[in-house]
C-alpha cells in the first residue's frame, strides 16, 4: 500500500517521577490504516494513545499530524481531525443519545454557542450511519453497552474527524457487540477512516487490523502486518502466556490458548480440517501433558 503518513510519532518518551511509561517510541501511521496496539496491562498503550490525542504532554519527542506538531495546533483544530472514542462508561446524567452525538459538534462552534439545525442534522446522520437513529431520544444510561459504544462512535463521526483513536473499544462489550463493533470499524475503514486502537485481544487484530504494534515496558517490540508478527512466540514474549495461533480456511487465523488447545491431535485436527465444532473427546483429559507439541504445526503454517 502506498499510503501517505498521517500521524508521525518521533522519539517519544513519557514518564512520571519514578516510572518511565514510554521510552523512545517511533511510529508512523498512514491514512486509512487500521492499527492495533497490543501489549500487557500497564505497557504504555493508553499513554501513547493519549499523547497522540494531545491529552498528555510527552516528556521528550514529538507527535505530528499531517506534518504539524500537535502541540502547536489548537485543540479545536485537532478535534476536527482526530476523534477519541473512549471505553464505554456510564455517564452520571442520563443525556439523550442525541445530546451525546451533538457534543461532537463542539469543535465546530464558536465560543458561545447553540446547536444549529445543521448540527442537528449532522448528528442525526451520524446516528443513522450506525443504524441507531431510533435511539436518538433514549437516555444514554438506559441503552445497552453495545449501543453506548455506537453512540460514542456516532459522536466521533459528528465531529467530522477522519482519524479515530479508540482505547480498548471492545472492553465491557458482550461477545456479539464486540463482533458488531469490529464490523463497524471495517465498514468505516473502507470509507477512508483511519483507526488506531488498543485491544487486549490479539484475535481482534488478526481479524480486522492491517497492522499490529506490540508494546512492552514502554517500548515497541514489534511493528508490522498482523499476519507477519502475531504468532505463538511474539504473543508469549508479550503476554507471557502460551498461545497457539492457528490458521483456518487459508487466511483467517485464531488464537487458542495452549492449555485449552491441548494435544497435538486436537491442534492438528483444527488446523487441517477447520473442524472447530467437534473437538476430540479426550481434549479435557489431555490438557496438561500437551505442552511440548507446538513446534511442528506452527512452523508449517508460517
Amino acid at each position: 500500500m502506498e499510503l501517505k503518513p498521517l500521524i508521525r510519532v518521533e522519539g517519544l518518551s513519557f514518564g512520571y517521577t519514578q516510572k518511565i511509561v514510554l521510552n523512545d517510541v517511533n511510529l508512523t501511521i498512514a491514512e486509512g490504516e487500521i492499527v492495533t496496539l497490543l501489549g500487557p496491562n500497564g505497557c504504555g498503550k493508553s499513554t501513547l494513545l493519549k499523547i497522540m490525542l494531545g491529552l498528555l504532554r510527552p516528556a521528550r519527542g514529538r507527535v505530528f499530524f499531517s506534518d504539524r506538531d500537535i502541540l502547536h495546533v489548537s485543540p479545536k483544530f485537532l478535534a476536527k481531525e482526530i476523534a477519541y472514542v473512549p471505553q464505554i462508561h456510564k455517564s452520571s446524567f442520563p443525556y439523550a443519545v442525541m445530546d451525546i452525538a451533538l457534543m461532537g459538534r463542539i469543535p465546530h462552534k464558536t465560543f458561545f454557542f447553540r446547536y444549529s439545525k445543521a448540527d442537528m442534522s449532522i448528528a442525526h446522520d451520524a446516528l443513522e450511519r450506525l443504524s441507531i437513529s431510533h435511539l436518538a431520544n433514549r437516555a444514554y444510561t438506559e441503552i445497552s453497552g453495545g449501543e453506548r459504544q455506537l453512540t460514542l462512535i456516532a459522536r466521533a463521526l459528528a465531529q467530522g474527524a477522519k482519524t479515530f483513536i479508540m482505547d480498548e473499544p471492545a472492553s465491557g462489550l458482550d461477545y456479539g457487540n464486540q463482533l458488531r463493533l469490529l464490523d463497524q470499524i471495517i465498514k468505516l475503514s473502507r470509507e477512508g477512516y483511519t483507526f488506531i486502537k488498543s485491544t487486549h485481544s490479539p484475535e481482534h487484530a488478526l481479524w480486522i487490523a492491517d497492522r499490529a504494534v506490540m508494546i512492552k515496558n514502554g517500548a515497541i517490540v514489534s511493528d508490522g502486518k498482523c499476519d507477519d508478527i502475531i504468532n505463538d512466540e511474539s504473543l508469549f514474549r508479550l503476554y507471557n502466556a502460551r498461545v497457539n495461533v492457528l490458521r483456518l480456511n487459508g487466511s483467517l487465523r485464531v488464537c487458542v490458548p495452549e492449555t485449552i488447545c491441548g494435544c497435538q491431535e486436537f491442534a492438528k485436527s483444527l488446523w487441517m480440517s477447520q473442524d472447530i465444532m467437534e473437538p476430540p473427546g479426550d481434549m479435557m483429559q489431555s490438557k496438561r501433558e500437551a505442552v511440548p507439541v507446538k513446534e511442528d504445526h506452527k512452523n508449517a503454517e508460517i
Binding site: 490525542l53 477519541y84 455517564s91 452520571s92 446524567f93 442520563p94 463542539i106 458561545f112 446547536y115 465531529q159
Partner: protein, 338 residues
C-alpha cells in the same frame, strides 16, 4: 424531553404571577385588584388612585416589598444555577454551591465584619471577599497537587470549608455575647429583611450578568460532565472553562450571602426538580433552574414572612420545606441521574 420548550413561557408566567401575588402579602395586606390599579396608574397612568393611598402603596410596594421579592428572585436563581453548574462540572448530582467553601468563607467574612467593624459596607465587602478567598484556597490546593483535578477540587473544598467553619467558631467565641453573637447567628440563618433598592442594584447587576454568562456557557457543561479527557478531546479548553464557571458560580453565591446571609438547600434541590422536569441537558436545564429557583425562593420567603407573627429566618424555612420535599422526591429524582 419535549416538555422543555413549552416550559419557559409557563415558568415565566408563574414567576410573574408569584411576584405579583407576593406583593400583596405582608403585615399590611393589599387586595390584588388594588395592587393592579396602583401599577396601572403608576406605570401607564391609567385610572385613578387617591394621592394618599398612592404614596402609601408606593412606599409599600416599591421601597419595601419589591426589593425584597427581587432579591429572592436573584438569590433563588443564583443558587440554583450555580448548583446545577457545579453538579455538571463535578459529575456529581449531590453537589451544591457550597462545595468549594464559598458559603463557609462568606459566613466567616460576615462574622468578622460584624465583630470588628461598625460599617455595614465593610461587612458586605468582607463577606464577598472571604467567599472568594475560600474558593481560591480550594482551587489552590487542587493546583499544587498533581492528579485527578475534580477529586482534588472536592478535597480542597472540604479542607477550605472546614478551615473557615473553625475560623467562624473562633469569631463567635470572641464575639460579644449580648450584641454581636445574636447578630452573627441571625445573619447565618439568612433573611431578606435588610435588602434595599440601592444594594439590590449594586449586587443584582453582577448577579444577572453571571447567570446570563453561565447560560451562554451551558453548552460546554454536557461535555464537561463526560470527564476531562473526553471534553478535551472534543477541543474544549477544560481547565479554562472550568475556572471561568467556578469564578461565575462563586461570584453568584458569594453575592447571595452578601444580600441575605446563608441560605442552604436551594442549590441542591432545585436542580433536581428541574432535571425531573426537563431532563439533564444543561442547555435547557440551566435556564429552567434559574426560573424555578426564583419562584421557589419567593414562595419560601412568603412563608417566612407570613406563617407566624415573627418572621422566620429564610435559611431555616428553605431547609424545613426543602428537606422533607427532597426526601419525598428522592426516588423520582434518582431517575434524573443514576
Amino acid at each position: 424531553m419535549k416538555i422543555g420548550k413549552n416550559l419557559f413561557p409557563v415558568l415565566t408566567l408563574i414567576l410573574i404571577l408569584t411576584t405579583g401575588i407576593s406583593l400583596t402579602f405582608g403585615k399590611y395586606p393589599v387586595a390584588f385588584p388594588d395592587m393592579i390599579r396602583f401599577f396601572l396608574y403608576k406605570v401607564l397612568n391609567v385610572g385613578y388612585v387617591a394621592p394618599e393611598t398612592y404614596h402609601l402603596l408606593g412606599s409599600l410596594f416599591l421601597d419595601i416589598r419589591l426589593p425584597r421579592i427581587l432579591a429572592a428572585v436573584l438569590i433563588g436563581a443564583s443558587l440554583s444555577v450555580s448548583g446545577a453548574a457545579f453538579q455538571a462540572m463535578f459529575v456529581n448530582p449531590l453537589v451544591s454551591p457550597s462545595l468549594l467553601g464559598v458559603l463557609a468563607g462568606a459566613s466567616f467574612g460576615a462574622a468578622l465584619g460584624m465583630v470588628f467593624s461598625k460599617s455595614w459596607l465593610t461587612v458586605q465587602v468582607l463577606t464577598f471577599t472571604f467567599g472568594f478567598v475560600a474558593v481560591l484556597i480550594s482551587v489552590g490546593i487542587a493546583r499544587i497537587h498533581k492528579g485527578d483535578t475534580i477529586l482534588l477540587l472536592v478535597l480542597g473544598g472540604v479542607i477550605s470549608g472546614a478551615l473557615f467553619t473553625s475560623l467562624l467558631s473562633i469569631i463567635k467565641y470572641i464575639a460579644d455575647p449580648y450584641n454581636q453573637l445574636p447578630a452573627i447567628t441571625q445573619w447565618l440563618m439568612g433573611g431578606l429583611s435588610f435588602v434595599d433598592g440601592r444594594i439590590l442594584l449594586a449586587i443584582g447587576i453582577p448577579q444577572v450578568l453571571s447567570i446570563i454568562l453561565v447560560i451562554l456557557f451551558s453548552g460546554y457543561l454536557n461535555a464537561l460532565s463526560m470527564g476531562d479527557e473526553e471534553a478535551r478531546a472534543l477541543g474544549i479548553s477544560v481547565e479554562w472553562i472550568r475556572m471561568l464557571l467556578i469564578f461565575l458560580a462563586t461570584l453568584m453565591s458569594a453575592l447571595t450571602v452578601v444580600l441575605a446571609g446563608m441560605i442552604g438547600w436551594v442549590g441542591l434541590i432545585i436542580p433536581h426538580i428541574a432535571r425531573m422536569l426537563v431532563g439533564p441537558d444543561n442547555k435547557v436545564l440551566i435556564p429552567v433552574c434559574a426560573l424555578i429557583g426564583a419562584i421557589y425562593l419567593i414562595i419560601v420567603d412568603d412563608v417566612s414572612r407570613m406563617l407566624f407573627s415573627v418572621e422566620i429566618p429564610i435559611g431555616i424555612t428553605t431547609s424545613l420545606i426543602g428537606i422533607p420535599f427532597f426526601a419525598i422526591i428522592l426516588r423520582k429524582a434518582k431517575k434524573g441521574w443514576n
